[in-house]
């Protein structure tokens, strides 16, 4: 059951993304097994680089964020901040020789918002095209230091 | 006129070099420096010109060097990094070379707080070792810091100082090595009273092959009195005067202490002449330039070889 696909994607998504309900999510989890770990968040602005890094460090081949469309954030600039933080994270991982694409952010479009399922599929396809993350061992996810200091 | 470094030529010919120093005056009178220089003429190969020694404002060492050069002596231009940044230092090297100064002694310099300008900023843009390297690069690679190429490179015999008596002992040899590796052609040491310590240092330097790479001139100073001996031991950091030497000074009457000082100095030079790896002496007769001739004479260092440029 674990790693029934060869990649693991950590997917953080704003609760306002269409089709992000629990029911839909269970459907997606069935489809992807543990290949995608879904993390609904109250606002993409809640996500810090350390969350993305932690995901990459511990279990994920790629860590992506899906935000609500620009101008739709309940916190006004949560999704804008998320974009900056993702860029910063990309700089950090690039600095250690990881591909920038292992971290990314997708912003929904106001006019034609995609569902969580559509986003997930696109991002997961991208993930499959990447190699296995050199950070992860070939085996199990590692949570040895589960208590990472967060902020 | 083609100038050459007399110090360099003596050493290149395998001679035992003799240098001394004279401090520029606290005033603009050229005669003050020329008078001192005159006392040294024919007694030494080259004359160190100190650079605002102990942080006291004096006639510039560059100007004094020029005066001495013009008087036909071979100056060793002392330059401290305390007062000039890298622009000034490099520029002064070029200027010194242009007017015929052929020796430079690269120093950190005494801290400004010791002199009469305690409020001054201490520049210390480069340290002495970096400075040695910079001069070497200017001379050999024709480049200044940052990589710009020079037209005509300076012609400098590069010196540096070493103090075998400061702490930590083990690192003193490392520091000597760094100076020599940075490009020092010759080394003038702090004045030697404690041979036990000096020998340890020198033998470590020999073991590293440093005595082959650069010419080490042992520093000597004639003691004027027992009081001076005690003062140097206790008040001047980095100078080590053994107690037995102080006792020896104390054992003679006050009016004979100068004579005793010269005798000790001559003995020291004799011993240095026998020491493998020592290529000369640097006689620092502090405000007592008159003594230099006598010391040189009695130590069998005279006459000095006739310089090539004369």
């Amino acid at each position: 059951m674990r790693y029934n696909n060869s990649r693991t994607l950590a997917l953080f998504y704003c609760q306002n993304v269409p089709g992000a309900g629990e029911r839909e999510r269970i459907g997606l989890e069935k489809k992807y097994g543990l290949s995608i770990r879904f993390f609904p968040i109250a606002c993409s602005g809640r996500l810090e680089p350390v969350h993305l890094l932690s995901a990459l460090e511990n279990f994920a081949d790629a860590a992506y964020v899906i935000t609500c469309p620009q101008g739709m954030c309940r916190y006004f600039e949560g999704n804008l901040r998320a974009i900056k933080r993702v860029r910063r994270t990309q700089d950090i991982i690039a600095g250690i020789g990881l591909e920038r694409e292992r971290v990314g952010i997708v912003t929904g479009l106001k006019e034609d918002p995609k569902t969580l399922a559509e986003h997930a599929e696109e991002i997961f396809d991208k993930t499959l095209q990447m190699g296995r993350s050199p950070v992860l061992d070939k085996g199990e996810a590692n949570y040895d230091h589960c208590a990472t200091e967060a902020h | 006129m083609k100038y050459v470094s007399r110090l360099k030529s003596v050493l290149e010919k395998g001679g035992f070099a003799v240098t001394s120093e004279c401090g520029p005056p606290k005033g603009a009178d050229p005669q003050a420096i020329l008078k001192k220089a005159e006392l040294l003429r024919g007694k030494v190969d080259s004359v160190n010109v100190t650079d605002n020694q102990t942080g006291v404002v004096r006639l510039s060492s560059m100007a004094a060097g020029v005066l001495i050069r013009q008087a036909g002596l071979d100056p060793v231009l002392q330059m401290v990094v305390r007062d000039r940044n890298r622009i000034a230092l490099q520029s002064d090297i070029l200027g010194a070379s242009a007017i015929g100064i052929r020796n430079v002694l690269c120093l950190s310099g005494d801290h400004q707080s010791f002199g009469n300008q305690p409020d001054a900023v201490g520049v210390f843009d480069l340290d002495s070792i970096q400075f040695v390297q910079v001069v070497k690069n200017m001379r050999d690679e024709r480049v200044v810091i940052g990589g710009d190429t020079l037209g005509q490179p300076p012609d400098m015999f590069i010196g540096a100082a070493a103090n075998p008596f400061a702490d930590p002992l083990d690192f003193r040899v490392v520091r000597l090595a760094k100076k020599i590796n940075a490009g020092a052609d010759f080394i003038q040491t702090q004045c030697i009273f404690n041979f036990e310590r000096f020998d340890k240092w020198l033998s470590a330097a020999r073991d590293r092959g440093l005595t082959e790479k650069a010419c080490i001139l042992g520093g000597v100073t004639p003691l004027k009195s027992a009081g001076m001996a005690r003062y140097m031991k206790t008040k001047v950091s980095g100078i080590d005067v053994p107690d037995e030497l102080i006792r020896r000074m104390e054992c003679v009457s006050k009016d004979r202490q100068r004579e005793e000082g010269i005798r000790i100095c001559v003995e020291t030079i004799e011993r240095l002449k026998q020491t493998p790896g020592i290529r000369g002496v640097h006689i620092m007769a502090i405000e007592w330039e008159e003594a230099v001739g006598e010391i040189a004479q009695r130590a069998g260092l005279l006459p000095r070889p006739v310089p090539d440029d004369q």
Partner: protein
């Protein structure tokens, strides 16, 4: 506030060289404010280093911990219980913090992860400006609250140099001429007379006259 920025990751990695058990040590004071060495940055750096180690198949243990202040012994001493588990400490403190930790734990290498920059002001979100050199002899009265030492590129004391044009410094169009600001401010509150005198050479002994400076306040001591 002291400002700092993280060193390039490869430089840090290089310094960590042979060490196997590393404590990444943050500081929750100034460097946290400038987002260089706080708890969050510490977690990020530790995570990054762990990833690097994994990528290179190195068996390295990296933990993080953040002190309230690295430059205060009372906080630093709390490391006493854990320090022996590590081969090296990677400090995200400012230079003062790094040295305070080093001073207390002489047996273990302390490696700086930051470049300490300057004493500065938080001008705007994400913008920090240098405005003090810590010269020990404040002259801001004469200069209308703008320090020519910190903010004039030439550290001039007696008025703008010939490079001041349109309120800009010759260094760069982005740099304000401190002297223009000084003059503007003094003019505004009618104190230009303060600039009539020749400001005497600066007394640098307050900054470096006696080697590293210290402040001793007996009333504050125990």
């Amino acid at each position: 506030m002291i400002t700092a920025q993280q060193k390039p990751i490869n430089e840090i990695r290089g310094m960590l060289g042979p060490y196997k058990r590393i404590l990444v040590l943050g500081c929750a004071s100034c460097v946290a404010e400038c987002a260089a060495g706080g708890q969050k940055e510490t977690a990020m750096l530790a995570s990054t280093l762990r990833m690097m180690a994994k990528m290179n198949n190195e068996d390295v243990t990296i933990h993080e911990h953040t002190l309230d202040r690295q430059c205060v012994r009372d906080f630093v001493v709390r490391l006493d219980e854990i320090i022996s588990s590590y081969d090296a400490v990677l400090s995200l403190g400012c230079g003062a913090g790094v040295q305070a930790v080093a001073e207390m734990f002489s047996e273990i290498p302390i490696i700086p992860a930051l470049n300490t920059e300057f004493i500065g002001e938080t001008r705007a979100q994400g913008l920090w400006m240098e405005n003090c050199l810590g010269c020990g002899d404040c002259m801001l009265y004469y200069f209308g609250g703008v320090c020519p030492l910190a903010r004039c590129s030439k550290q001039l004391f007696n008025g703008p140099c010939g490079g001041s044009v349109g309120g800009r410094c010759e260094i760069n169009q982005d740099v304000d001429c401190a002297w223009q600001q000084i003059i503007d401010r003094l003019t505004r509150f009618g104190a230009m007379d303060r600039l009539e005198m020749i400001y005497p050479p600066k007394n640098w002994s307050r900054k470096q006259g006696g080697g590293p400076r210290k402040i001793i306040r007996e009333d504050q001591q125990r």
